[in-house]
Symmetry: C2
Subunit: 110 residues, 2 copies
Protein backbone atom coordinates (compact mmCIF):
# COMPACT_ATOMS: atom_id res chain seq x y z
CA UNK A 1 0.00 0.00 0.00
CA UNK A 2 1.43 3.36 -1.03
CA UNK A 3 1.45 6.21 1.41
CA UNK A 4 -0.63 9.32 0.89
CA UNK A 5 -0.09 12.44 2.97
CA UNK A 6 -2.95 13.05 5.36
CA UNK A 7 -2.80 14.77 8.72
CA UNK A 8 -3.06 13.05 12.08
CA UNK A 9 -6.23 13.93 13.96
CA UNK A 10 -4.51 16.45 16.22
CA UNK A 11 -3.01 18.22 13.19
CA UNK A 12 -6.37 18.99 11.59
CA UNK A 13 -7.05 22.74 11.59
CA UNK A 14 -10.53 24.15 11.26
CA UNK A 15 -9.50 26.94 8.91
CA UNK A 16 -8.11 24.34 6.48
CA UNK A 17 -11.30 22.29 6.78
CA UNK A 18 -13.40 25.38 6.00
CA UNK A 19 -11.15 26.29 3.09
CA UNK A 20 -11.48 22.77 1.70
CA UNK A 21 -15.27 22.86 2.04
CA UNK A 22 -15.54 26.30 0.42
CA UNK A 23 -15.74 25.00 -3.15
CA UNK A 24 -18.87 23.73 -4.92
CA UNK A 25 -17.30 20.54 -6.31
CA UNK A 26 -15.62 19.63 -3.02
CA UNK A 27 -18.81 20.32 -1.11
CA UNK A 28 -20.65 17.98 -3.47
CA UNK A 29 -17.96 15.31 -3.01
CA UNK A 30 -18.37 15.58 0.76
CA UNK A 31 -22.15 15.36 0.48
CA UNK A 32 -21.89 12.22 -1.65
CA UNK A 33 -19.31 10.62 0.65
CA UNK A 34 -21.62 11.29 3.59
CA UNK A 35 -24.35 9.38 1.79
CA UNK A 36 -22.22 6.61 0.28
CA UNK A 37 -19.59 5.83 2.92
CA UNK A 38 -16.32 4.71 1.33
CA UNK A 39 -16.08 4.98 -2.45
CA UNK A 40 -13.44 4.64 -5.12
CA UNK A 41 -12.00 7.99 -6.25
CA UNK A 42 -13.23 7.37 -9.79
CA UNK A 43 -16.88 6.94 -8.84
CA UNK A 44 -17.86 10.51 -8.01
CA UNK A 45 -15.84 12.18 -10.78
CA UNK A 46 -17.76 10.23 -13.41
CA UNK A 47 -21.09 11.10 -11.82
CA UNK A 48 -20.23 14.81 -11.64
CA UNK A 49 -18.71 14.96 -15.14
CA UNK A 50 -15.57 16.59 -13.72
CA UNK A 51 -12.22 15.75 -15.35
CA UNK A 52 -10.06 13.25 -13.49
CA UNK A 53 -7.16 15.72 -13.08
CA UNK A 54 -9.48 18.27 -11.49
CA UNK A 55 -11.00 15.60 -9.27
CA UNK A 56 -7.51 14.52 -8.13
CA UNK A 57 -6.82 18.11 -7.10
CA UNK A 58 -10.07 18.33 -5.15
CA UNK A 59 -9.45 14.98 -3.44
CA UNK A 60 -5.95 16.12 -2.47
CA UNK A 61 -7.27 19.36 -0.93
CA UNK A 62 -9.90 17.44 1.05
CA UNK A 63 -7.36 14.83 2.17
CA UNK A 64 -4.64 17.29 3.19
CA UNK A 65 -7.17 19.35 5.13
CA UNK A 66 -8.20 16.25 7.07
CA UNK A 67 -11.75 16.12 5.69
CA UNK A 68 -11.28 12.74 4.01
CA UNK A 69 -9.19 9.64 4.57
CA UNK A 70 -7.71 7.82 1.58
CA UNK A 71 -6.73 4.17 1.51
CA UNK A 72 -4.65 2.97 -1.44
CA UNK A 73 -5.28 -0.62 -2.49
CA UNK A 74 -3.34 -1.55 -5.60
CA UNK A 75 -4.51 0.81 -8.32
CA UNK A 76 -7.60 1.85 -6.41
CA UNK A 77 -7.95 4.76 -4.00
CA UNK A 78 -10.78 4.44 -1.55
CA UNK A 79 -11.98 7.65 0.03
CA UNK A 80 -14.18 8.23 3.05
CA UNK A 81 -15.11 11.16 5.29
CA UNK A 82 -13.16 11.50 8.57
CA UNK A 83 -16.49 11.88 10.27
CA UNK A 84 -15.41 10.79 13.76
CA UNK A 85 -12.34 13.02 13.73
CA UNK A 86 -14.27 16.04 12.52
CA UNK A 87 -17.19 15.47 14.89
CA UNK A 88 -14.78 15.17 17.83
CA UNK A 89 -12.69 18.20 16.91
CA UNK A 90 -15.45 20.50 15.66
CA UNK A 91 -18.79 19.29 17.04
CA UNK A 92 -21.72 20.05 14.80
CA UNK A 93 -19.67 21.48 11.94
CA UNK A 94 -20.02 18.63 9.45
CA UNK A 95 -23.70 18.09 10.26
CA UNK A 96 -24.51 21.76 9.77
CA UNK A 97 -22.56 21.82 6.50
CA UNK A 98 -24.33 18.71 5.20
CA UNK A 99 -27.73 20.06 6.22
CA UNK A 100 -26.89 23.46 4.74
CA UNK A 101 -25.73 21.86 1.49
CA UNK A 102 -29.11 20.18 1.15
CA UNK A 103 -30.78 23.52 1.84
CA UNK A 104 -28.63 25.25 -0.79
CA UNK A 105 -29.47 22.63 -3.40
CA UNK A 106 -33.15 22.85 -2.59
CA UNK A 107 -33.05 26.65 -2.82
CA UNK A 108 -31.25 26.44 -6.16
CA UNK A 109 -33.83 23.97 -7.40
CA UNK A 110 -31.16 21.33 -8.03
CA UNK B 1 -25.16 56.78 3.54
CA UNK B 2 -23.28 55.13 0.69
CA UNK B 3 -24.32 51.76 -0.62
CA UNK B 4 -22.15 48.70 -0.23
CA UNK B 5 -22.88 45.49 -2.12
CA UNK B 6 -24.11 42.76 0.18
CA UNK B 7 -26.44 39.91 -0.65
CA UNK B 8 -30.06 39.66 0.44
CA UNK B 9 -30.67 36.83 2.90
CA UNK B 10 -32.06 34.48 0.27
CA UNK B 11 -29.01 35.05 -1.96
CA UNK B 12 -26.51 33.82 0.67
CA UNK B 13 -24.87 30.56 -0.46
CA UNK B 14 -23.22 28.22 2.00
CA UNK B 15 -20.25 27.49 -0.23
CA UNK B 16 -19.45 31.20 -0.33
CA UNK B 17 -19.81 31.43 3.45
CA UNK B 18 -17.41 28.50 3.89
CA UNK B 19 -14.96 30.00 1.41
CA UNK B 20 -15.07 33.31 3.29
CA UNK B 21 -14.48 31.57 6.63
CA UNK B 22 -11.61 29.47 5.27
CA UNK B 23 -8.90 32.04 5.97
CA UNK B 24 -7.16 32.62 9.31
CA UNK B 25 -7.54 36.41 9.32
CA UNK B 26 -11.20 36.31 8.32
CA UNK B 27 -11.90 33.62 10.87
CA UNK B 28 -10.34 35.81 13.54
CA UNK B 29 -12.40 38.81 12.38
CA UNK B 30 -15.56 36.70 12.68
CA UNK B 31 -14.54 35.50 16.13
CA UNK B 32 -13.97 39.07 17.30
CA UNK B 33 -17.21 40.32 15.76
CA UNK B 34 -19.06 37.54 17.58
CA UNK B 35 -17.60 38.79 20.85
CA UNK B 36 -17.83 42.53 20.19
CA UNK B 37 -21.08 42.97 18.26
CA UNK B 38 -20.88 45.91 15.85
CA UNK B 39 -17.46 47.53 15.43
CA UNK B 40 -15.80 50.06 13.19
CA UNK B 41 -13.79 48.49 10.36
CA UNK B 42 -10.63 50.11 11.66
CA UNK B 43 -10.80 48.56 15.13
CA UNK B 44 -9.90 44.95 14.38
CA UNK B 45 -7.23 45.68 11.78
CA UNK B 46 -5.26 47.67 14.32
CA UNK B 47 -5.56 44.92 16.91
CA UNK B 48 -4.42 42.23 14.47
CA UNK B 49 -1.60 44.31 12.98
CA UNK B 50 -2.90 43.62 9.46
CA UNK B 51 -2.53 46.37 6.83
CA UNK B 52 -5.68 48.38 6.10
CA UNK B 53 -5.70 47.39 2.41
CA UNK B 54 -5.57 43.71 3.31
CA UNK B 55 -8.27 44.20 5.92
CA UNK B 56 -10.49 45.93 3.34
CA UNK B 57 -10.13 42.89 1.10
CA UNK B 58 -11.06 40.52 3.93
CA UNK B 59 -14.05 42.65 4.95
CA UNK B 60 -15.24 42.71 1.34
CA UNK B 61 -15.03 38.90 1.03
CA UNK B 62 -16.96 38.47 4.29
CA UNK B 63 -19.57 41.06 3.25
CA UNK B 64 -20.11 39.72 -0.27
CA UNK B 65 -20.46 36.17 1.08
CA UNK B 66 -23.17 37.36 3.46
CA UNK B 67 -21.20 36.67 6.64
CA UNK B 68 -21.16 40.31 7.73
CA UNK B 69 -23.36 43.36 7.30
CA UNK B 70 -21.76 46.76 6.76
CA UNK B 71 -23.38 50.07 7.56
CA UNK B 72 -21.70 53.21 6.22
CA UNK B 73 -22.06 56.29 8.40
CA UNK B 74 -20.10 59.23 7.03
CA UNK B 75 -16.48 58.13 6.97
CA UNK B 76 -17.07 55.19 9.27
CA UNK B 77 -17.97 51.66 8.28
CA UNK B 78 -19.65 49.65 10.98
CA UNK B 79 -19.49 45.88 10.61
CA UNK B 80 -21.48 43.18 12.36
CA UNK B 81 -22.08 39.47 11.88
CA UNK B 82 -25.29 38.47 10.06
CA UNK B 83 -25.93 36.05 12.87
CA UNK B 84 -29.72 35.78 12.49
CA UNK B 85 -29.47 35.23 8.73
CA UNK B 86 -26.75 32.60 9.05
CA UNK B 87 -28.44 30.81 11.95
CA UNK B 88 -31.70 30.67 10.00
CA UNK B 89 -30.14 29.51 6.74
CA UNK B 90 -27.50 27.15 8.13
CA UNK B 91 -28.49 26.16 11.67
CA UNK B 92 -25.51 25.41 13.89
CA UNK B 93 -22.85 26.40 11.36
CA UNK B 94 -21.72 29.65 12.92
CA UNK B 95 -21.81 28.25 16.45
CA UNK B 96 -19.73 25.23 15.49
CA UNK B 97 -17.23 27.46 13.67
CA UNK B 98 -16.93 29.82 16.64
CA UNK B 99 -16.53 26.92 19.06
CA UNK B 100 -14.04 25.25 16.73
CA UNK B 101 -12.06 28.46 16.38
CA UNK B 102 -11.66 28.60 20.14
CA UNK B 103 -10.58 24.96 20.10
CA UNK B 104 -8.05 25.68 17.34
CA UNK B 105 -6.56 28.60 19.25
CA UNK B 106 -6.37 26.58 22.43
CA UNK B 107 -4.67 23.69 20.60
CA UNK B 108 -2.19 26.12 19.05
CA UNK B 109 -1.49 27.60 22.47
CA UNK B 110 -2.57 31.06 21.26
Amino acid sequence: MREVSQPATEAIRMVEVLRALGDPVRLEIVRRLAAAGEVSCNTIGGELDVHQTTMSHHYRVLREAGVTWTTVKGRTRLVRLRRDDLDTLFPGLLDSVLNGARHGRAAAGG
